[in-house]
């Protein structure tokens, strides 16, 4: 399993990649493997401001539905529209084409509360 070093990870298996004041969010390689084939990603919170750990959407695999949680507080400025037609991108490229939302961060210091690749790897036992 792959856990890029330049990302931060939440206990709910989201990853976050910070680029200046915005951040990309998706789910980890571990999470997509556990869920199996992703068949639908629903995010209806674009333009909303949400707090850290709030639900921003749902991801549906063949047999399960899981909530998606904000790894940090901020305003959701975009949803990855490619996932509408190709939700399987979450499986095939969880850190690249399978990103889910773009956030305008409210408090970049919250990043410190997230895990490094090393710590996350340890948590999931990979």
């Amino acid at each position: 399993m792959n856990f890029p070093d330049d990302l931060k990870y939440s206990k709910d298996h989201e990853w976050i990649r910070v680029e200046d004041n915005v951040a990309y969010v998706g789910i980890s390689d571990f999470a997509q493997k556990e869920l199996g084939d992703i068949v639908y990603v629903e995010v209806e919170t674009v333009e909303e401001e949400l707090d850290q750990n709030e639900v921003f959407g749902t991801v549906e695999a063949v047999k399960t539905v899981s909530d998606l949680f904000m790894p940090i507080s901020g305003k959701i400025i975009a949803f990855n529209d490619d996932l509408t037609g190709e939700p399987e991108l979450v499986n095939s490229a969880p850190y690249e084409k399978g990103w889910m939302i773009k956030i305008e961060m409210k408090d970049p210091s919250e990043i410190e509360s997230l895990m490094s690749a090393e710590a996350y790897k340890e948590m999931v036992g990979a």
Binding site: G36, D37, V39, Y40, E42, T58, E60, V62, K63, V65, T84, E88, N91
Partner: protein
Amino acid sequence: MMDLKKVTLNEIHEQLGAKMVDFAGFYMPVRYSSDKAEHLAVREGVGVFDVSHMGEFMLRGEKALDLIQYVSSNDAAKLTDGKVQYSCLPNEEGGIVDDLLIYRMSATEYMLVVNASNIEKDWNWISSHNTFGVEMENISDQISLLAVQGPKATEALQPLTDAKLADIPYYSFVKGTFAGVPDVIISSTGYTGAGGFELYIPNEQAEKVWHHIFEVGKPYNIQPIGLGARDTLRLEMGYCLYGNDIDDVTSPLEAGLSWITKFNKDFINAENLKKQKETGIAKKLVGFVLEEGGVPRRGYDIEDASGQKIGQVTSGTMSPSMNKGIGMGYVNKPYAKVDTEIFINIRGKQKKATIVKLPIYKKIEE
């Protein structure tokens, strides 16, 4: 906890890297690679399911047909040697004990194929009504069942047998030598709507047959298929799954099984079912396609436009062939017509859906 039963080919599935799960008390492969890839392999090519968890009963004797006619709802007298019939076992309270396949081996020998989860229940049920002196044998633990399904199945399997596979009509079977194994039941049946065969094999020969199938299937890119894809394939066809769409309390008439409920003979609860048919049913099992994004799932409410509950989803999934949410569920009779607009309540949000004629997935005519 009860120990899980393992199928004869368990080790093969594990070696292939299958994710194994508890299904009806059996340790079964749910997926080898991906549900969607396996689903499409069966729709477009050919795949193999190990469904050895299914139960098989042999019924023998002069009165075997009489017992079958009494416990089942379809008219088994219509069967001739080498024919198969889909039927169900009604209970006395208006529900269904199980749905099953009935094979006529000869006028005095039949094979009943039942759901894994119901083997014991069905055995006890049929036994308790066996006042006919029929000899019953439960051979479930001796038989492996491989379902080779898909449009390429006939061509792929032909080298393994002298029987002319293309000449075996749907819902018919032959008993013949297959992959060097004598007396294999080669049955033109399945639970996918993709065509193909189900092969009933003595356990000790199952491994040999499995390997031969994969060898001749190689040019067709044959794949092992798990129960995950089996469920999406059957749901696209609108086939009932016992425990989901039908059970001890669902009426066969409400489940759309009137076509296998024949009142020209006497059977358990026939009188009440006949009455129900005359007075009319209150709800009906329908298939639907979601018109918006989302995945309908078992237990979700079905509503009308105003948000009033009119039914419930019994099976739902994202259709791999259609890339749309699809499902089956019971709706109040006035809403059961094809093309009716309904709404599925998906975690508090109404999503528009349309009731469709079965099968839900219609193959594009070539």
